[in-house]
Structures are given as structure tokens and as C-alpha cells.
């Protein structure tokens, strides 16, 4: 059963790089990215980031189009693209394995970890496996020296890695990290939400999302109004809604019990939209951005402190 699942996944993966060949670089796409940043001189890195996000790497054609569109010489753009480690001129594999070789990791045998990774994957550092599944990279410090040696696979950090455990890590990455992994992470803990006005619980035990009771609020956006259920895991962005909410649309949150507007005290630091304030536990205020797609949130514990 497991092996078939693996096989299925692999075929999906091997198809993917074919979707992003040089020919697929469309001038209009690049121009859209340039327009988004006004083609400004200071926007070069942002534009390169945009291109890399779109294609997974920086295709040669894309850089040439960018050079024509912004009027900056190709030499400058190429210089910047090769200067920063986060940019890559070659397609990366499906999974990015980053091993830290900083001083603290180095003295804890990080070079041996890299050797083991190279051996397991059959590639050298900064190469990609022929089946385009894995790219192995080394970095000089991840700023988590106390946890060394650190290996990062697809954004998952693994601390105090041992050579013996590497085979398992790669196998895990190949199968995709299960979502439960996310729940185990420290910040993803369930919260008890209530209305800051009437202190009535907003928890909806009848509707379970992602394994936990959801938080139910009423929303209104323009003409529409209806219910919204948020995942009660702190750090999770999942939700269900009566209406289709387009990305970027801002909605107002209301308490389903006292019908009061659940407004936050500040504006979102990310996008300056209004924030909704939800009472968490014994009086902490969790503010979340009311704009769909924005991750802005702010947890205020002052309320708890004053009670204590």
C-alpha cells in the first residue's frame, strides 16, 4: 500500500519540471511582474523573487526579458542573481534539502551530515538529482546554532541531526511530510475563542475543522452576510465560509450571540486593513487581519496580565 502511494507521488513529481522549461517563459508574465514593481531601480530583487516564485528558478530568457523591460543591463541583473544564495539559475528539485555548515554545526560534524546526504542522494552539494526530486544545498548559518547540526527539508527544520537518521529523513521527505507534523509543531496549539464583548464562547463543537472544534463568527462584506468558521489552531489559516471570499476582500466580523462587531484595536501591520479581535482563553486578545489572504495577526497578552 505504502509503495504504491510512493510510486504515484513520484510520477507526479517527475512530470513537474517539464512544466517549467525555458520555452514556457512568457514575456507577458515577466512584464506583469515588472509592472507590479513599477520597474523601479530598487525593485530588482523583488522582481527576481517574483520570477523565481513563478518558475522555481531564474530562467535565462526571463532575465533577458527583464533586462529589456527595465532598461538595466543584463550584467547587473546577472550579478545580483548570482550574488544571492536564495536565487538559483538552475531548476531546483521538488524537495530542497539545506544543510547548515556554519561554525557551530561544523564542529558538531555537519560535514559528515553533508557527506551522508550526498551519498544517500547520489549528488554533490548544490546539485539536483537526475529525477529532479531533490536539490542539496549548503548554507553557512541558519541562526539556530544551539540546535546544530541543522538540516532543513522543504521548510521543515530538523535539529541535532545524526548521520544514522538521514535515510529516514529523506524517505519522509520523498513521501511528503504528513500534515500531522504541522500540528505537532509548537505554535499550532488549539485555542478557546470567545466574544470580547459578551464573553460568550465562539466555539462550535458540532463542526470540526482540521480535527478541532471550529470558531464560528458572523461576517458581512458589502451586500453579503453569513457565517464563517475558522480553524481553532493558532497559526493555522484554514476556514470555511458560507460565501465565496475572493482573495484580497476584507470582511467585518460579528459575534453570533450579541451581534456586536468584533473589531480589533489596531490596523493590520501587513496590509493596513482592519483587524478582528477575538478573546482567547482567559482574556488574551488575538487580532487577525480581516482581509482574505493576509496572514497578519497579533496576539496581545496584556489583558491576561491585568487580570492576574
Amino acid at each position: 500500500m505504502k509503495s504504491t502511494g510512493k510510486k504515484k507521488k513520484r510520477t507526479v513529481i517527475s512530470d513537474e519540471p517539464d512544466n517549467c522549461t525555458e520555452e514556457d517563459v512568457k514575456e507577458a508574465d515577466i512584464l506583469a511582474i515588472v509592472r507590479k514593481h513599477d520597474g523601479a531601480r530598487g525593485g530588482l530583487i523583488a522582481m527576481l523573487e517574483g520570477i523565481q516564485q513563478k518558475y522555481g528558478y531564474l530562467p535565462e530568457n526571463a532575465l533577458r526579458i527583464l533586462s529589456n523591460a527595465t532598461g538595466r543591463s543584463l550584467v547587473d541583473i546577472y550579478g545580483v542573481a548570482t550574488f544571492y544564495r536564495s536565487f538559483t539559475l538552475h531548476p531546483r528539485g521538488k524537495h530542497l534539502v539545506t544543510a547548515c555548515l556554519g561554525t557551530a554545526c561544523h564542529v558538531r560534524a555537519a560535514p559528515r551530515i553533508v557527506e551522508e546526504l550526498e551519498q544517500q542522494l547520489g549528488i554533490k552539494a548544490s546539485e539536483t538529482t537526475p529525477d529532479r526530486n531533490f536539490t542539496l544545498e549548503t548554507v553557512n548559518c541558519l541562526g539556530a546554532c544551539a540546535l546544530g547540526p541543522v538540516v532543513v527539508i522543504d521548510g521543515h527544520y530538523f535539529s541535532k541531526v545524526k548521520t544514522a537518521g538521514i535515510k529516514k529523513l529523506i524517505e519522509e521527505a520523498r513521501n511528503g511530510f504528513p500534515d500531522e507534523k504541522m500540528l505537532e509543531r509548537e505554535f499550532a496549539f488549539p485555542v478557546e475563542a470567545s466574544c470580547p464583548q459578551c464573553h460568550h464562547s465562539l466555539m462550535d463543537a458540532g463542526n470540526i475543522i482540521e480535527g478541532y472544534p471550529s470558531i464560528r463568527v458572523d461576517i458581512s462584506a458589502g451586500e453579503k452576510s453569513g457565517w464563517l468558521r475558522l480553524v481553532s489552531l493558532y497559526g493555522s489559516r484554514g476556514f470555511e465560509s458560507e460565501h465565496e471570499l475572493p482573495v484580497g476582500e476584507s470582511v467585518a466580523f460579528f459575534c453570533p450571540h450579541c451581534k456586536a462587531r468584533i473589531a480589533g484595536t489596531t490596523l493590520c501591520t501587513e496590509c493596513e486593513a482592519t483587524m478582528a479581535g477575538i478573546r482567547i482563553g482567559e482574556g488574551a486578545l488575538l487580532q487577525i487581519c480581516e482581509r482574505r489572504g493576509c496572514d497578519g495577526c497579533r496576539l496581545e497578552l496584556d489583558a491576561v496580565k491585568s487580570q492576574v
Binding site: S73, L74, V75, Y78, G79, T82
Partner: protein, 225 residues
């Protein structure tokens, strides 16, 4: 006008002049490598270091990038300066021992050996060619790429540049001649100038006793049809 003291002599120069220019004006030689008239100062090679200030506040600065200040006291060949320069020369020799320019400077300063791991690079990353290409030839065909120990000079994607006019200016200004002719690799060609040379061996059928002193000869490496 700004008045400063160079090696104890008063010099009056215009505002905005660099220490290097002021020293040359009064006749004190300062060795340079990355500096070139007509190109913007870069301060990469550190060969032109001079000592400014007095006592504990004295410090070494690169004279090619340091603008003159009123009452500045400059020493162009104090013990400290010479020691720093000899160190720079040793490091340059360690990376590019075959450069005639660097050898000449080394012999001027009496540097006969160097203590570091000998490498045989052909570039000291002084950026002369990059500035020449950008500022004098208005082409911007070559530039720096990568960083740290992988930093190098070349055309984007290491292929023939669209904006390069094969002027050869980059080779002309190079103190170590990094951008050598690469005619036998036309894909990466930067100059191609040797294609215009008349090599005797190309028509060696016309010569009974043809002798070639070049080894290996560029013409010999051009692929024959």
C-alpha cells in the same frame, strides 16, 4: 582650495581631489593597480594605502578613494605604509604570480618571496575591465558574478554577449590579462582579435622553412574545417 600636508610638504589642491592625485601632483609616487585615469576610483587593490592622521589616531586609507581634507597630514611611505603595501604585494603574488605588472611592483618594494599558498589565478578582481567596459565603452558587457571565493568576471551566462563590440578594451586595461583571447572557443569569445592576425602557419604551404615560435600557437588551436 584645500591645503594639506603630504610627507611634511604643504600642498594646495582643489576640493574633491583625492590624496592620490594630490600626491602625484606634488611628485610623491604611490603604486596603484586598480586605479586608472578616466575610470571611477574603486579602491579594490589596496596598493595605494597611505597613512593619515597622527599618533594613536593614525590610520591607513586607500589614497585613490580618499578626498583631501583641510589640514590633513598624509604620509605616503611611512614604515607602516610600506609594511602594509608589502603584505598586499605578497598576497597579490600569491594569487597571480605570472603578472608582469605585479612582478614589477614587487621588485620595486623588494618583495622576493611570498609566504602564502601559491595559486595561479589570472584575475585579481580589480574591476578595471568592468569599469572600462561600462564607463569608457558604454557597453556593460562584462561584470562581476557570484561572490566570495567564487567571485569572478565574465559575461552573463558565460556566453557571447549581445552588447560586446569586441573592442578589446577590457584586455587592454587588465594588469594580469584575465580576459585572454578565447578564439578557439567561439561560444565564449570575448575578443576574437587574433582572427584578424596573419599567422604564418595558416599558409605554411607557401613557406618552405616555416618556423613558429609560439607554443601553443593560437592559430594552431583554431579548429580546421
Amino acid at each position: 582650495m584645500i591645503t594639506l600636508k603630504i610627507n611634511g610638504l604643504d600642498v594646495s589642491v582643489e576640493k574633491g581631489t583625492t590624496i592620490l592625485e594630490a600626491a602625484e601632483f606634488i611628485g610623491f609616487p604611490i603604486p596603484t593597480l586598480c586605479h586608472m585615469d578616466g575610470l571611477t576610483p574603486y579602491g579594490a587593490c589596496r596598493l595605494c594605502v597611505v597613512e593619515i592622521g597622527e599618533g594613536k589616531k593614525a590610520k591607513l586609507v586607500s589614497s585613490c578613494t580618499y578626498p583631501v581634507e583641510e589640514g590633513l597630514k598624509v604620509r605616503t611611505s611611512s614604515k607602516r605604509v610600506v609594511r602594509a603595501r608589502r603584505m598586499v604585494i605578497e598576497l597579490l603574488l600569491a594569487s597571480c604570480p605570472q603578472s608582469k605588472t605585479i612582478q614589477d611592483i614587487a621588485s620595486t618594494y623588494g618583495v622576493r618571496t611570498q609566504r602564502f599558498k601559491q595559486e595561479y589565478d589570472d584575475c585579481i578582481l580589480c574591476g578595471r575591465c568592468v569599469r572600462m567596459c561600462e564607463e569608457q565603452m558604454m557597453a556593460k558587457a562584462i561584470g562581476f558574478q557570484n561572490r566570495g571565493e567564487k567571485r569572478s568576471i565574465g559575461t552573463p551566462f558565460d556566453t557571447k554577449s549581445d552588447v560586446c563590440r569586441l573592442c578589446g578594451g577590457c584586455m587592454y586595461v587588465c594588469p594580469v590579462c584575465e580576459l585572454r583571447c578565447t578564439y578557439n572557443q567561439p561560444e565564449k569569445a570575448i575578443c576574437g582579435g587574433c582572427a584578424n592576425l596573419f599567422a604564418p602557419c595558416v599558409e605554411k604551404d607557401n613557406f618552405d622553412d616555416m618556423m613558429c615560435y609560439m607554443n601553443p600557437c593560437v592559430a594552431c588551436e583554431i579548429p580546421k574545417e
